[in-house]
Symmetry: C2
Subunit: 348 residues, 2 copies
C-alpha cells in the first residue's frame, strides 16, 4: 500500500500565549518539556506506519524554515507553503491533489501537528485498520476519540453504533456542544471527539472536494498545471489565497454520506488550552504542573508554570494560576480565566 | 566654608531582588521610574549645597564604572573604590581621611546613595544649619527623620528635646525596635529615624575614629601614606580589607558623647523594601503601583508591579502581590511575604 502522511502545521495557537505566538506557534514548541516539539512528536507517531520520505507537511510560508529544521528527514519538496491561512479544506485539497499526481494510488492520513496521543500502539493499530479500509473503498475514515468527560471544546462525531476499534458509519457531525448536550453525548456512548484525523485514498478525497467544494477544486486544478514545476510557488501564490476559507468539516464531512469512523480510547488531547497542557506536563509534589529548570515555587498549589527562557523565576503564594514566560513575554492569570487569553495577548 | 559631599554607594540592596542584584544594585537603578537612578537623585539633592567638583563617592571597585557613567560631573579621582565591603565605618574613615589631607578645613556631609527625600527644600535648609554648626564645632550632627509611623525597620535617634529643625543633643541611639517599642517612640515625640546622614568637619571625625575605632584609624594611617600617589590603589587593596567590619553607628555614634541631631519631616524613605518602593511609584486607578511601559493589569489591586525589561507582561487577578522583573529574572510574591525575598533570590 502506498501510504502518505499529511501533517497540517499552519495554526497559530493563540490560546497558549505567551508560549505560543504567531512567530513561533505551539506546534513548533517543546510544550511538554520533553525535548521535542509537538510537530516532532506528531511525526514520530507516524513512523511505525510510514517512512518519512512519504511525509508531507502543509504550513504557512513563514514556518517553512522551522519545519525544515525540526523535521530534516522530510524531503524539502514535500513541505508545502500556504501563502495565507484558508483553514483546512484548501490545505488538505492542495496536499492531496499534489500527492495524487505522482502517487495516484496513495492512501493518505491527514493529521494536525499539535495534538498528543498517549496510547500510541493503539493509535497505530487504529490507523492501520483505517488505511486497510480506505485503500479499496470510496469512503472517508475519520478517527474518533472516546470521550473521557463532557468536553465542550471539541466537535463530536455521532456514530451509527457504539463499537470501539471498529470502522462504523458516521450518522452526523456535531459542533462544540454546551455542557448539558455534551453530558448526553457522553451517556449515549456513540459520540466521539473529532480529532481532525482523516484517512482516505487520494481519488476519493479529490472527488469529494470536486463535488462538495467546487470552488476549491477549480483553484486546485489551476494550481495543478504547475505542480512539480518551477512555477508552482507562483501559481500557489496566485490561486491559493482565492480559495474559499472553510474547514474540511464544513466543506466535506458534514455534507458527504460516505464517512466512517473508527474510535478508540487513545489518550488524545489537542493541547488547545493551558489547562490541557497542564494535564500533560510534570507535576511537582505540591500539585503544580511545571516546565522550566530555573523556576522555584514557594507555597504554590494547582498552578501551571511554564518558563524555559527566564533566567530565574520565583513564584510565591499562588493557587490555581498560570504563570508562563517565553522570549521576554510574561503572563500571570487565573486558570479559571484562561478563556480571556486572546484578550490578554493583544498588545496595546 | 569648604563643603564636601560623601555619597556611600557600595550596598547590594538584596531586599529589592530581582530589580536590585549584586551586578546592578538599587542605587544604580531607576527604581521609581522617573528616568534617574537613585544615585543621580541623591547627587541632585546636594547640588544646591555644593558643587559637584566637591562630591566624593565611595563604592565597591566593581561599581566604579557605573558611578563614572551615572555621575560624569564628579571628578574620577574622587570616586573611591573599596576592594571589599567593610560596612560604613571604614568607608567613611577612608573618604574623610583622604579629604582632610587636601582640604583640612573641609566640612563634610555623608549620605547613603539610595534614599528618597520628598521635601528637598526643607532638607537643604536642615543640611545648611548642620554645616554651619559643624564648621566650628568638635561635634557630629546627624539628621533625624520625624517618624510618620511606628516603623520597625529603622534605627532611632533619641534626642534630648522634641524640637524639630533645631540642633539638639542626642541622648542615645536605638537599634531597630519591636512594634510596641516603636509605638512608644512615636508617642514620645523625641525619637527620630536614623537616616544615616552625618555632618562634621574632617578634624572631628578623624579624631573620633582615632578614639573609638583605633584599629580602623591605624589602617587609614598606613593607607594615607599613599593617598594621592600612584600607589594608593595598591595600599587600599592591602590595608582596607584588614579594617574591622563595623558600621559608623556602632563604631562611633553609640560611643561618643559629642553627637547632635537636627530632625525634620522630610518625606524621607530609604526604599529598603518593595512596599516602600510601592509607596513612591505611580498609582494606577486600581490602587496598583506600576513602573513599566509594557505592562497590562487586569482585575489587579494593591499590587506593586515593576517590569522595565519584559517585552510584555500581563497580570490578571492578583491582590496584594509584588510582580517584579529585571533582565530575565522574575519574582511574584505576596507583599506580606516580602521579608522572605533573600530566601527567594538564592538560586539553586
Amino acid at each position: 500500500m502506498d501510504i502518505h502522511i499529511v501533517i497540517m502545521a499552519g495554526g497559530v495557537g493563540s490560546r497558549l500565549w505567551p508560549l505560543s505566538t504567531p512567530e513561533l506557534p505551539k506546534q513548533f514548541i517543546d510544550l511538554l518539556g520533553v525535548g521535542k516539539t509537538m510537530l516532532q512528536i506528531t511525526a514520530e507517531r507516524f513512523k511505525p506506519i510510514c517512512k518519512a520520505d512519504h511525509f508531507w507537511v502543509v504550513t504557512s510560508e513563514d514556518y517553512v524554515e522551522l519545519v525544515k529544521r525540526q523535521l530534516p528527514e522530510v524531503p524539502e519538496s514535500q513541505i508545502l507553503a500556504e501563502p495565507e491561512p484558508r483553514s483546512t479544506a484548501p490545505c488538505i485539497a492542495y496536499a492531496c491533489k499534489k500527492i495524487s499526481m505522482h502517487f495516484p494510488d496513495a492512501v493518505v492520513v491527514v493529521t494536525p501537528a499539535d495534538a498528543i496521543v498517549i496510547r500510541t500502539e493503539r493509535f497505530t493499530s487504529i490507523i492501520e485498520k483505517a488505511l486497510d479500509f480506505a485503500e479499496n473503498s470510496d469512503n472517508i475514515v475519520t478517527v474518533g476519540i472516546k470521550p473521557t468527560c463532557p468536553a465542550t471544546g471539541y466537535g463530536y462525531i455521532c456514530a451509527a453504533s457504539i463499537e470501539e476499534n471498529q470502522i462504523v458509519k458516521v450518522s452526523s457531525f456535531k459542533e462544540k456542544p454546551d455542557r448539558e448536550t455534551a453530558s448526553s453525548y457522553l451517556a449515549a456512548g456513540n459520540y466521539f471527539w473529532n480529532a481532525g484525523i482523516f484517512v482516505w485514498n487520494v481519488r476519493t478525497i479529490n472527488e469529494q472536494i470536486a463535488r462538495f467544494a467546487p470552488q476549491i477544486c477549480l483553484m486546485m486544478n489551476r494550481m495543478a498545471d504547475f505542480f512539480y514545476t518551477d512555477q508552482e510557488a507562483e501559481a500557489v501564490e496566485k490561486y491559493f489565497p482565492q480559495c474559499e476559507k472553510i474547514s474540511i468539516d464544513y466543506a466535506v464531512m458534514e455534507k458527504s454520506d460516505d464517512i466512517y469512523v473508527i474510535a478508540g480510547d487513545l489518550g488524545w488531547n489537542d493541547l488547545g488550552s493551558w489547562s490541557s497542557v497542564g494535564d500533560y506536563i510534570p507535576r511537582t509534589e505540591q500539585t503544580n504542573s511545571l516546565v522550566g529548570d530555573n523556576v522555584r515555587l514557594f507555597d504554590c498549589s494547582n498552578c501551571i508554570v511554564h518558563a524555559t527562557d527566564a533566567k530565574q523565576l520565583v513564584v510565591q503564594g499562588l493557587d490555581g494560576y498560570i504563570v508562563a514566560e517565553k522570549a521576554g513575554n510574561i503572563m500571570i492569570c487565573k486558570i479559571s480565566e484562561e478563556q480571556r487569553i486572546k484578550e490578554f495577548s493583544k498588545g496595546k
